[in-house]
Symmetry: C2
Subunit: 261 residues, 2 copies
């Protein structure tokens, strides 16, 4: 399907607290991708859009995505889109698999951890990432058919798996003008990932957890260090992978507002 | 001189753009310390005060101190105090020495660098730091004699030499309730400095420059890591020692506002 021919169908629309929430379906020609599109209830004729990628075993309407999306809409007057990644949310071929994995991981089960984060899991994630990056590019194509979103600018927010998807998108699609990444790492010898990081040149806020149980400090800092952006800023907080402090939401909104408005 | 007997004399007062600037003189019994006290033109009866420590070879009214002080007053409605450190600003025994040192450093002169940052210079700085920390405690004593400032809370902002002074103050004086530190490091084996860092338990924002020519990345991260605070956040930006990006001012204001208001 040629660039610009993807379509975005609005399935339904609700509004609460100054925010419109539309359930949408992106048709790329290869896949149908369920998404959410949040907009100000009193939208400007033309306004920026932030693409939000959720984390692994999460989905397009998980708490942190929903809360930040609403804050971006209310504070900045921008639109926000979230899509379910392949095998996540409404796209699970084995419904409930992510939820069961999270429950098993919470018990500290070593087999569950190996299945979730081992070499095989990472290879499958990388293959799905390639497909999903193309889906995000198709989402931008579809948005740009509407004059409200034709000129962007577009931003990215996504940590952990959200960076696995957003970093290659930002590296290869010059429509993304600013990004928030984090909770991700550069393992020694991963030249492909390093090349993609070096190809990112837009302003980046990168969020890292000092006691992240899924990656070393060195590998986290190495990914931040590899980013090609002149304007990049790293925020580090104590705590584990999912313990990013609430106040970093404000920092994300400020970063995206500074570069998209 | 007993705690609470230091005095603060107002020498003169001007007002512009919503900010009152008073030239003050702190008398500790051992020293007379010239300072500046910024206040909202329409002050609340009781309000927090941020103590701002300037960097080495700088003074109480250097550009970055003045700009941040005004922003703190206008955005948060708090008071701000800056003092000249020993052998800085109006307290230079050899007037103009700091300016000449900065000019020599700017040429890249190796002797100037050794004189400014070598072992002997660091020892002299440490001795002066001890005296200056006591001066800041006396400043808090003097402020607390006025009902507007008696209850604090007090915050600290100071990077580089401003951390050399503010970190021991925060570690030993429980009147400091939140701090911004940065551009400073923990050298291996410096147990005294490490002990002081571990004794800091208030919320800290720590600013680090990734390409700081005066310290290694490892030593910068080691100081952040040693801080005893549960609530601490590290911001890293590319660039040299004096190239902290302008947008970190916003982060400093947000951090101090979150914990002092």
């Amino acid at each position: 399907m040629a660039r610009g021919t993807a379509t975005l169908e609005v399935l339904d629309e609700t509004a609460a607290d100054g925010v419109v929430e539309r359930r949408v379906l992106l048709r790329t020609g290869e896949a149908e991708v369920p998404g959410l599109h949040w907009l100000p209830t009193d939208p400007r004729p033309s306004h920026p859009t932030v693409c939000m990628g959720h984390g692994g075993f999460q989905h397009k309407r998980v708490d942190n995505v929903l809360a930040l999306a609403r804050q971006l809409v209310v504070d900045l007057g921008v639109g926000v889109v979230a899509l379910d990644a392949p095998e996540h949310g409404e796209r699970e071929s084995d419904p409930g698999a992510s939820e069961r994995t999270l429950a098993a991981l919470a018990t500290g089960d070593r087999d569950a951890r190996r299945r979730a984060f081992g070499r095989e899991a990472r290879a499958a994630m990388a293959a799905r990432a390639e497909a999903h990056v193309a889906e995000w590019a198709a989402l931008l194509d579809a948005l740009q058919q509407d004059p409200r979103w034709a000129d962007g600018p577009f931003g990215w927010w996504g940590v952990s798996m959200g960076t696995t998807h957003g970093l290659p998108l930002t590296a290869t699609d010059d429509r993304i003008a600013a990004a928030v990444f984090g909770l991700n790492a550069l393992r020694p010898g991963d030249e492909r990932w390093e090349t993609q990081a070096r190809a990112v040149t837009v302003p980046v806020l990168f969020l890292t957890q000092w006691d992240d149980e899924l990656m070393t400090r060195e590998a986290s800092l190495a990914l931040w260090d590899a980013l090609g952006s002149q304007d990049k800023t790293l925020h580090v907080n104590p705590g584990r992978h999912v313990e990013v402090p609430r106040f970093e939401r404000r920092a994300s909104v400020d970063h995206l507002g500074r570069h998209l408005l």
